[in-house]
Amino acid sequence: MNNWPFRSVLVANRGEIAVRILRTVQSLGLEGAIVYHAADRDSKAVRMADKAVEITGKTPVGAYLDGAQIIDAARRVGAGAIHPGYGFLSENAEFARAVAAAGIVFVGPTPEQIELMGDKVRARAFVADGGFPVAPSAIEDDDPATFVERARQVPLPLLIKPAAGGGGKGMRIVRSLDVLEAEIERARSEGQRYFGDGRLYVECYVENPRHIEVQVLGDTHGNVVHLYERECSVQRRFQKIVEETPSPALSAELRREICETAAGIARKAGYRNAGTVEFIFGNGVFYFLEMNTRLQVEHPVTEVITGKDLVHEQLRIAAGEALGYGQEDVRSEGHAIEFRIYAEDPARGFTPTTGPVLTLREPADTRVDSGISQGQEVTAAFDPMLAKLIVAGRDRADAIARAERALADYVLLGCRTNTAFLRRLIQHPAFVAGDVHTGFLDANPAIAAEPELKVDTLHALLGAGALVTRSLRDPADLVPSLHAAIGDWSN
């Protein structure tokens, strides 16, 4: 496309995703601008951007949530479009509206689509109304007076969720109707506390479920395609850490069914932009979970198997262009796995770690989407995700073998990361067999535990440590080697 309605795109984000977006923006010959908080002044994204505007806030995160400041920055650099990335303002309908009101293109869906999918209860009703599968449920808003009564009719076990929820907050599993009412009250107060909204819904809980999601693209001309599924069942604290495509859990028939369902939901919504329809899968059936109306962290695996650049597609759609291809033109080839590299200590309950990035070496022949660079400091100010390692293989076994090598070759010194843990994870027989579910890591705490240090490893570490520590090496060097040699004989 040569006639872009905007010449400059402002990235309202930071870290690896800002780098990722700028890469495509600049490769298209467009100008890439960015906003940044002082904590990110020396970051890779800010150095890469053609223009950068500092924004301020009570906290660094607060700066990236300040829509008015960001829109003002876009005006100052003459940006004709704003790409929100993921997180922060990416699913904020008010922000999308304000951007449009300022005469700037929002690289995302319409505010109404964000609102529809952001309200979990409305989204569910919308999907069910289209005849798509949702889990058996009871929704408080339908008739608050009979909510508990209706909840009792849903098959056990139950999952109570806040209507305004997300990220696993305030969710409660109920296995006995005796405690139903007490748990509803608890979920209500948590929902109130986290989201300022105590409305709930209850649905049938799938034991050991798998998380499978489908990438979709919709343009302003009513065209919708899916770009196949991603399986994201390996999670800790309801956060994904490994994502892959294709899913090892689906037969060809189920794969087609779940992908067509996702495309159908997007079509019914008249969806514009890249989006992800998430499903819960278990016992051979899948249910709609929610739809995310933005680029996902794990989008690169889809790019690997389909050959599409999703940020490019988002920009084309935002510019009003038609997709220009149909479902039959979207192919899936090979297997891709993404690993999220976190500054955290798996053996200490996945608590975040901090420290300087003294040495950084990325593995060769592997896509690494990274927001960090050597010399910077990893702080507690932001999410602890540092980078994503994306491996591609002919098939799943090939991808796992390459991942083993790539994870071992990812060198980051100065701040502890989860790479050794990820290597243990992919060697686990259940992972190798593709037999995982969202509770897999909780059920297998041994994977997170630090393995016992081997004696030869310990010796190597102490030897390396001793030889680079002057307090040890200098005194040793003071003894001339001739005496040292005599010392050898006298031993």
Binding site: P352, A460, L462, G463, A464, L467, T469, P475, A476
Partner: protein, 166 residues
């Protein structure tokens, strides 16, 4: 003279001396030959006990970081004198330290306040969870180091109590 490195929660005593070629590492009653040869690509070849391995090493102050066989390790050199004085004083009770990195959500006390052991003094947030921190002993608050909203690293001193007897 013997030195020590801390690795995770363990401490290892060791000594180093020159050998005809390279060095000797003394670990208890064991002596292990060791050599380290830096390479142009930033890695180094570590010869130890007859085996050669490629490692990456970085240092900052007394911290030594080593990437070995696909995993990263963190060693900390323990100064012999500092170890002795630490054992003698045991000043851990004079401060509240951060159990993990995060940010300050609320102060429950201010400098000059008298506090009693286990009284809640600060609320911090980390990993989207709030944690209340308590005073380690009875005493008077000497300083609250971080303002509400400020972020800190793990082990940072968040609140200091006035030393006993002052």
């Amino acid at each position: 003279m013997f030195h020590a490195f801390k690795l995770d929660d363990n401490e290892y005593d060791l000594g180093l001396s020159r050998a005809a070629q390279g060095y000797r590492l003394h670990l208890g009653d064991k002596t292990v030959p060791v050599e380290l040869h830096p390479q142009d690509d930033g890695s180094a070849l570590l010869h130890i006990d007859g085996v050669r391995r490629r490692v990456f090493i970085a240092t900052r102050g007394d911290d030594v970081f080593v990437h070995l066989d696909g995993a990263a390790y963190h060693l900390r050199y323990e100064h012999p004198l500092a170890r002795l004085s630490h054992q003698a004083h045991g000043s851990a009770d004079d401060s509240v330290r951060a159990p993990m990195p995060g940010s300050v959500v609320a102060h429950h006390v201010k400098a000059g306040d008298s506090v009693s052991r286990d009284q809640s003094v600060l609320v911090i947030e980390s990993m989207k969870m709030e944690t209340t921190l308590v005073a380690p002993r009875d005493g008077v608050v000497a300083e609250i180091v971080y303002a509400v909203g400020q972020t800190f690293e793990r082990d940072a001193v968040l609140l200091a109590l006035a030393p006993v007897g002052e």
